[in-house]
Amino acid sequence: MDTILFLAHTEADGKLGKAGLQALNAAVELNKTLGATLVVGLYGAEIDPAGNAIANCGAQKFLGVAGPEFAQPRYATDAAVCEALLRASTATIVLAAGTSRNARVLAGVTQRLNGCIDTHVTGVEATSGSLTITRPFYRQRIEGSVARTRRPWIILLDPDAYTAWQGEAGSIQVQQVECSVPEALRRTTVRGIVTPPADQQTIRPDAQLLFVAGAGWTKKQKDGQVHVGEAETLILDFLKYSKASLGSSKSLVDLTGENQTALRFMSHLNQVGQTGASPRHPKGLSTCCHGEEPHTVGWRFIAERRAINLDPNCGWARGKADVLYVADAFEVMSKVNALLGSK
């Protein structure tokens, strides 16, 4: 019989983050289907709040490692603690959220345990006791199902692939697992987090809308001139009024890197698509974008999609968007901002 380990790091408040609760939900569902043993493994500076919050998830055992040395997301200590929790659980299947902290470390842990790993998993299915996962390849351009015989099998679930686990809190006793941290594991010190100033923060993962700006914003308009300053104002005003998250096509971000006339707030972090991010938002509005299919895979997880473009054959829109408005984005977005601003 399989043992499923739900492995999670806690956040600064000692609780699980949203992605962690989503992975727990997947683990609980899989446990029911496989008739397996569910074990929870928690680590971080503090773990009791997280353990109590998920006390009624159906786990047979709660393992944990807590201490100030595990507060920092640092490869050396995170790998040591994950290895210790995996060995203590004797898990055959491990489910964890695809957070940056887990993604940094869990492949290395599989190497230590002679196991295997799959990341960016969007679905986990068990039929007749056999486990299959679904994940994208070639930056989401191909999708495949994977089964493995090697164990332990670590599965990192993409955030928002599952809904978050919900249940009554309770009180549990976490069984402490021994994990020593010698000096050799402290060569790296995390100094902190760099966050853009609030007025320059254009990437909002929890926004209802993704606003994608393409290179057309920096091209000559119908008067034969470029209007980059006006474009910047229109886009930033729209982000302010709508609270949307800003994405960009690769070509526009590349312009910024090549020191051509470009939008000053645009960076590689805004890039969506094959070599950028794959954000998940309920709605997406694309403006002045053009491009081939590989660059539009950033749309993949956007539920409702609309586009504004002067070109009715725009590659971002035809067959990819639900509605394409053939219109001047400068004109339309100016009117949109006026309407949103007057509310």
Binding site: Y75, A103, Q111, P136, F137, P205, Q274, G319, A327
Partner: protein, 270 residues
């Protein structure tokens, strides 16, 4: 600075992003239709790692740079004709399949073996670079596996910057959730850095650099060891191109005011 780095960049090749990719199933498992015919490029994020490595080599005197690449030899040779013109490098080639369906664990084993055999490398000075994810397997695990096989316990992923310090340590910026960066300081090499885009543009082609590089690249390609992948319990089913086609409604006959009202209404809907 008197603490030179030995930078090893792991980078493979991927189909040119503008090519249409169609999965097919062969005798050895899934692959791409006409895979050997598709034009290839150096993996984009790994290419950034190469440019950052070359930049670091210029900054820190005495540093060395190797490019370790596992790919079909003939395809790699084609790609190297361009890559060789970008930055001075020493190629270590491994001849083997590098598609998205090859298991990362076997790729990592072959890369680690090749790195161990590099002549003149000082593992205490090693910075193992690569892309944080490939554009083929897109898993973001190979570098970690190679790092573990080489016994490196300081690893960073989604790196956008490395700043060497006078005392031999270096500061690293890693991408984390919400478009933020985590700032870490590592006491020094050895370390693994999986690069995101970094901050450097693509270097211009320099034919002189290319000619110098190619003198050593051709023999390196001829010497390439062979890596044979093994499925090792990995089984693929239902490898398909996701259905993405939507029935797009084209709106041509509305004024900017009408479109704006419609968009504002749409944004406000639950």
């Amino acid at each position: 600075m008197s603490n030179p780095f030995h930078v090893v960049v792991c980078a493979s090749i991927v189909p040119d992003p503008l090519q249409t990719l169609e999965p097919v199933t062969g005798q050895t498992g899934p692959g791409l239709k006409n895979e050997m015919m598709l034009p290839a490029i150096l993996d984009p994020w790994a290419a950034h790692a190469l440019y950052e490595g070359a930049h670091l080599m210029k900054q820190v005197a005495g540093s060395k740079l190797w490019l370790v690449s596992l790919a079909p030899r003939a395809k790699l040779q084609q790609v190297m004709m361009t890559v060789a013109q970008k930055v001075p490098l020493q190629l270590v080639a491994v001849d083997g399949p590098c598609g998205g369906f090859v298991d990362a664990h076997h790729t990592a084993a072959a890369l680690a073996n090749a790195i161990r055999k590099i002549e003149g490398i000082d593992f205490s000075r090693l910075l193992l670079f690569g892309g944080w994810e490939s554009a083929s397997r897109s898993a973001g695990v190979t570098l970690q596996l190679v790092g573990e096989r080489l016994g490196i316990v300081d690893q960073f992923q989604g790196v956008d910057s490395i700043k060497p310090q006078e005392d031999g340590s270096f500061e690293v910026l890693e991408r984390i959730e919400g478009a933020r960066h985590q700032v870490s300081v590592c006491a020094g090499p050895p370390a693994v850095l999986g690069w995101a885009t970094g901050s450097l543009g693509e270097p211009r082609n320099d034919p002189q650099v290319g000619m110098l590089n190619m003198r050593a690249i051709m023999p390196a390609l001829q010497r390439a060891a062979t890596a044979a992948p093994s499925a090792d319990g990995l089984q693929y089913t239902n490898v398909v191109t996701p259905k993405q086609q939507r029935d797009t409604k084209i709106v041509k006959d509305k004024t900017a005011d009408e479109i704006a009202r419609e968009i504002v209404q749409w944004i406000g809907q639950e």
